[in-house]
Subunit: 336 residues, 2 copies
């Protein structure tokens, strides 16, 4: 039988904590017997939520902490001072190998800092990228870096490409994933100083399947499986994906209410539309892993509901069973 | 009576040249008696197209040129060598003050280079930004820079903010336009080296209405009237807007075909939906001006149809009558 996958879950992080977090954790353990969750946070609040559900107690444990790191707090300070916070405790559980992974919907800054400072980087990894899965009309792509390291260097982008390829191949199951460099033109000589320097490095990297530059316009059409970019650009891509979708869906709903004819039509198309749009929502795919750390750190949306928490927890199984970190070590060490 | 507005139109530029370009030019002169168009390109081809329409011959003139600059040509070389190309001729008409403005759907690179080298910058302007109007659910915003100058400096972004404010106020008619800095977080200290340095400069600029950082997610929701960013980021914002819209609309159409029920609903909502989505299309608002030049240079999409050419030509009226370049000179000189 496979080993259990131990996941520390930050019960206090995010807009819907602890109720949706606890719900998602229970759903995950009920869906897969390989999962053991450590719910980290204020015990009384967690217990109160757990009363609502049935689950195998052997798969779920509470780890009490008193403090909570707020989203607005300066992250470095918060990680240093709030030793008894749910995020720091989750990080320590991973660092001490009591857990394989942690999932948090809390402060992005604190998670990025804690990941590097407490969990620590794999030897050879320059910077751990935040790598969300983004939807496209053809399926999904991995976008990295998406917020961890602004003003990155070319060598770091090459590492992102390698780590992203391992993840897409082993966790998502895409053979020989196509790596694209996010750029403002298709030709090699296009772009800024960073992309111009990075292009030949990616081209000469035998361990990845580099397909060249990808323009932002083609990202939602599924132009590449692994999208490599500097964090500022990655953040803009991700937020535009979310912003345009929500703005457009709002507009469409408004349009459907504009006449009696369109109102009736709107009622008829609603179920099909809902299904279609669900496949294009960034929330359907669990959280974003922070790759290249000594353990798995998964950051989910601050607005996470139970479904996203559940998916984020379940994603830790493939990460452990496929030995992602061993594979990352091999690819990075090979180079250095 | 107002003076005529003379516009040089590149009849050979873009995927649909010369037919859609000529059509758009005729529609513009027929819509507004203040417009005089100089159709620049191969005379026989232009004449052939013009046969299809009626118009006041006093408002439309052909300027014959033999050469055409292709999209794939290296721009600097093309501008230098092809003196008898439609783009270079348009540029010279503006430089020599025979025309107030030029409109082209041709090679972006050649237009950016020609604008700087032939038409020339207003004294004091460091770099002329490409400034498309982008749709939001609330109306429109001006996004600059959107492709002209990658790796820009903070002082250049401040100039973009000033020029963009003049344009939005005088051409689009938005009083005291809200200027936002495109960034990856709302707080002042967020971002990369460029945005961190630019923020206080914008804050201390009395001539603009700076409202702070704007996250990409809020751009489609109309968070600011003037969106200031470096060209790489601006290009990603623009292309994501186009890419997500087209991907999502494709998905929705697919979803509507998924069952008989949704098919019937789809037929009923179609007219309302079409109207709604039209307001969210980047093609409805004419081309993007290249601001800060001694004359107006307007770049339209390579895929421009007659409607976009017409709107781009008509936009030149407000630009001239509102003395945009005089106002830009005042704002830039005030500072220096």
């Amino acid at each position: 039988m496979a080993e259990m996958v131990n996941v520390a879950v930050d019960a206090m992080g995010g807009d819907n904590a602890p109720s949706e977090i606890v719900k998602g954790a229970v759903e995950a353990v009920n869906e897969d017997r390989r999962i053991r969750v450590f719910l980290v946070g204020r015990e009384p609040a967690i217990k109160e939520e757990l009363k609502k559900y049935t689950y195998d107690a052997a798969q779920l444990e509470i780890v009490h902490t008193e403090e909570v790191i707020e989203t607005a707090e300066p992250p470095v300070m918060a990680i240093r001072k709030k030793k008894d916070s749910s995020i720091v405790k989750c990080m320590n559980l991973v660092k001490d190998k009591e857990c394989d992974a942690l999932v948090s919907a809390g402060s992005t800054g604190a998670i990025l800092v804690g990941g590097q400072v407490i969990v620590g980087r794999i030897k050879g990894v320059e910077r751990p990228p935040l790598a969300p899965i983004v939807p496209s009309v053809k399926g999904v792509s991995l976008l990295l870096d998406c917020g961890a390291n602004v003003d990155a260097r070319p060598s770091q982008l090459v590492q992102f490409a390698k780590m992203g390829s391992v993840y897409m191949e082993s966790v998502i199951g895409i053979k020989n994933p196509r790596v694209g460099l996010v750029n403002i033109g298709a030709e090699e000589e296009k772009g800024n100083a960073l992309t111009k320097e990075t292009y030949p490095l990616l081209q000469n990297c035998p361990e990845i399947n580099f397909i060249g530059n990808v323009e932002a316009r083609d990202i939602p059409h599924g132009a590449a499986d692994v999208l490599v970019c500097e964090a500022f650009v990655g953040n803009v891509v991700l937020k535009m994906l979310e912003g345009v979708s929500s703005a457009l869906v709002g507009k469409i709903k408004e349009g459907m209410k504009s006449s009696l004819r369109s109102k009736i039509g709107g009622i008829l198309v609603k179920p099909a539309l809902k299904k279609t749009l669900k496949g294009f929502s960034t929330e359907e795919y669990g959280g974003a892993p922070l790759l290249g750390l000594n353990g798995l750190v998964v950051k989910t949306h601050g607005s996470s509901k139970a479904i996203e928490i559940k998916n984020s927890i379940l994603q830790c199984i493939a990460f452990k069973e496929q030995n992602i970190n061993e594979k990352i070590k091999e690819k990075i060490v090979l180079e250095d």
